[in-house]
């Protein structure tokens, strides 16, 4: 078993918050090798041009007579890939050179997440304009699905929900070092739609709730949120449109989505005023992952009364590098892509690109390790911070590290620190 295969096996034993199916049926559907690494072939066989994966395992090889030359490119064991994975078959042969192939990079995005798909499409277009060929591959983004993508050798980068990775100890253990983020992207509101007789999301405990397609961003963010809230509904995995139909028919108690901004079925749902958005109240315990959001009738005219606002939280997303542990050849390859992305970032700030790019600060910090090359590029790009800015940041870190996070009494001290840094002369 190779590093990649081992990773997938570990990942598949780590369902997100226990709410995900253990098997990973949602492996990326565009399976095209982007590098020459792969599982060790059985005796007399060589790796097929397109690894064929079923339930997370490579199941098809072809005879060595079909490509004897390729069988010779299996080289040295790359031990640098071992970091972060406890169970490794050191006898597995992994080529020494692991870089994006001439086919270009592959970016994994959830096809059920319209916003993520749009961001991914924008990203690839901008990268191509910068000279880096690539493509978007559609697939799940749960921890298990990321493992399948690595196993299938099908993606170099991913647009992934950070909440599931950060909040789930098992996912975090597997991916924390091996899937560093390149940039934190804008979060999207988590929306929970229910019949009007459901007033509080705690009423959903034990009831069937639509979580979107298994392994999707909807599914992992819904699982992470309910786990954080201590509420345990019964997940039902199906596409949003089907889930809304089931909600309307009374077969589901609620439907959860993080793709409301880009989901036409939700925009059209609820014209009969039988349904509404449930509030998710932000608490300090959520501070490292979620930010508060308030939805209004302007966002959901069918689901929110004109005079009301509904509080919820935003699920964070990030662009991550897959299987790019520090010092590994794949981290080097991701560094090259990062440079192209950062240098051409302004291409994403034009009107025909998703407006969410305009809210992205490439230097924004996330509660997750960043790809070293990305951090180095950012450090070099921004001006040196003066003493007063460093003092403001130190005060913020001090408040954030306290039990329960920053409190009301920290607000004035932090404000004064900001004013001292910012001054009034700019």
């Amino acid at each position: 078993m190779t590093v990649a295969a081992t990773t997938a096996a570990v990942a598949q034993t780590a369902p997100v918050n226990g709410a995900e199916p253990a098997a990973m049926p949602g492996a990326p559907v565009e399976i095209k090798p982007t590098r020459s690494a792969g599982p060790k072939a059985p005796a007399g066989m060589v790796r097929y041009g397109h690894p064929v994966v079923r339930d997370g395992k490579v199941i098809l090889w072809h005879g060595a007579w079909r490509d004897r030359l390729k069988s010779k490119d299996s080289g040295q064991i790359d031990k640098s890939q071992a970091s972060g994975a406890k169970v490794l078959d050191q006898s597995a042969a992994v080529p020494a050179s692991i870089k994006p192939s001439s086919n270009g990079f592959a970016l994994l995005a959830d096809p059920n997440d319209g916003c993520a798909s749009r961001l991914a499409s924008d990203f690839v277009a901008a990268m191509q304009a910068g000279g880096s060929e690539g493509k978007v591959v559609a697939g799940g983004v749960s921890a298990a699905a990321l493992g399948a993508a690595v196993n299938a050798d099908s993606a170099d980068l991913a647009i992934a929900p950070l909440d599931a990775l950060v909040a789930d100890p098992q996912a975090s253990a597997v991916w924390r070092e091996r899937a560093p983020y390149i940039a934190k992207l804008s979060g999207e509101p988590i929306e929970i739609v229910a019949a009007r007789d459901v007033a509080d999301l705690r009423q959903l405990a034990g009831r069937e709730v639509g979580f979107g397609v298994a392994n999707s961003a909807d599914a992992v963010s819904a699982a992470a949120l309910f786990n954080a809230l201590g509420v345990a509904p019964r997940p039902a995995y199906e596409p949003l449109a089907d889930a809304l139909n089931d909600l309307a028919a009374g077969r589901l108690a609620a439907v959860v989505t993080v793709d409301g901004r880009c989901a036409p079925p939700l925009a059209q749902f609820g014209a009969d005023k039988r349904f509404h958005e449930l509030a998710v109240h932000w608490t300090p315990a959520m501070r490292s992952i979620y930010a508060p959001v308030r939805l209004t009738a302007k966002d959901r005219p069918n689901l929110i009364d004109a005079t009301e606002g509904v509080d919820t939280v935003a699920a964070p997303r990030a662009l991550i590098a897959l299987d790019a542990a520090p010092g590994s050849p794949r981290a080097e390859a991701a560094a090259a892509l990062t440079k192209t992305f950062f240098q051409g970032f302004d291409r994403l700030l034009v009107p025909d690109k998703d407006g969410a790019w305009r809210d992205v600060n490439l230097a924004a910090e996330a509660p997750w390790p960043r790809l070293r090359a990305a951090q180095e590029w950012i450090d070099a790009a921004r001006p040196a911070s003066d003493a007063s800015l460093q003092s403001f940041r130190a005060a913020a870190r001090g408040a954030d590290s306290a039990d329960g996070g920053p409190a009301a009494q920290d607000s004035d001290r932090l404000y004064d620190s900001l004013m001292q840094w910012r001054g009034t002369d700019q």
């Binding site: 064929v52 499409s121 700030l349 992205v360 600060n361 001006p383 404000y415």
Partner: protein
């Protein structure tokens, strides 16, 4: 009879081989999300330096400080992406503990460069009656502040910054007037 048996056996063997071939045939469904072409010229991420203040600018600054006009362009004209602007009928004299906690959380996020999260927390604080949150919200949109903060790629929005500063000024924060004047000078 042996010929018949061989034929039957051969038929079964053929069916079996065919079934196995179908079961293990490579599954390569294409599912590439089409990438839109990009035609604009490459641009680097450039940090803009704070504007230098010359005499004419200083005159403008003094004028602006004397007479700050309300911004005719509402911040609500921009995309809110789920966020709402603070109501104008809030009493900003005594922010609640919740409001101050949200402001503190927003300041922590701002210091960490998570400007999007900072804006979200500060919106909530402003909604709950915190005038200082309005001023910090202005900073979170002010291109000059973002540049000095070390934001990369994020451009800010002078119009929205000015609107929040104006509301902070209306709520009694003198520093907000100076921020507005600085924006006037830079434009």
């Amino acid at each position: 009879m042996p010929i018949l048996l061989k034929s039957v056996a051969g038929l079964f063997a053929g069916v079996a081989v065919g079934a196995l071939s179908l079961a293990y045939w490579p599954q390569t469904q294409p599912a590439i999300v089409a990438a839109r072409p990009v035609v604009e010229q490459p641009q680097g991420v450039v940090q803009s330096a704070p504007p230098a203040l010359e005499k004419s600018a200083l005159d403008k600054l003094a004028l602006a400080l004397r007479d700050i006009q309300p911004n005719a362009e509402s911040a609500a004209s921009g995309p809110t992406r789920g966020l709402t602007l603070s109501p104008t009928n809030v009493d900003f004299n005594a922010p609640s503990e919740d409001a101050r906690r949200f402001r503190a959380q927003g300041l922590v996020a701002l210091a960490g460069g998570d400007v999007a999260a900072a804006r979200a927390f500060l919106e909530r604080a402003a909604d709950a009656g915190d005038a200082r949150a309005l001023l910090v919200l202005g900073d979170a949109y002010d291109p000059a502040t973002l540049t000095r903060l070390g934001a990369v790629g994020l451009k800010g929005d002078s119009s929205r910054a000015r609107d929040y500063y104006k509301r902070a000024s209306d709520a009694g924060l003198a520093a907000a007037r100076q921020r507005i004047a600085a924006i006037e000078v830079s434009q």
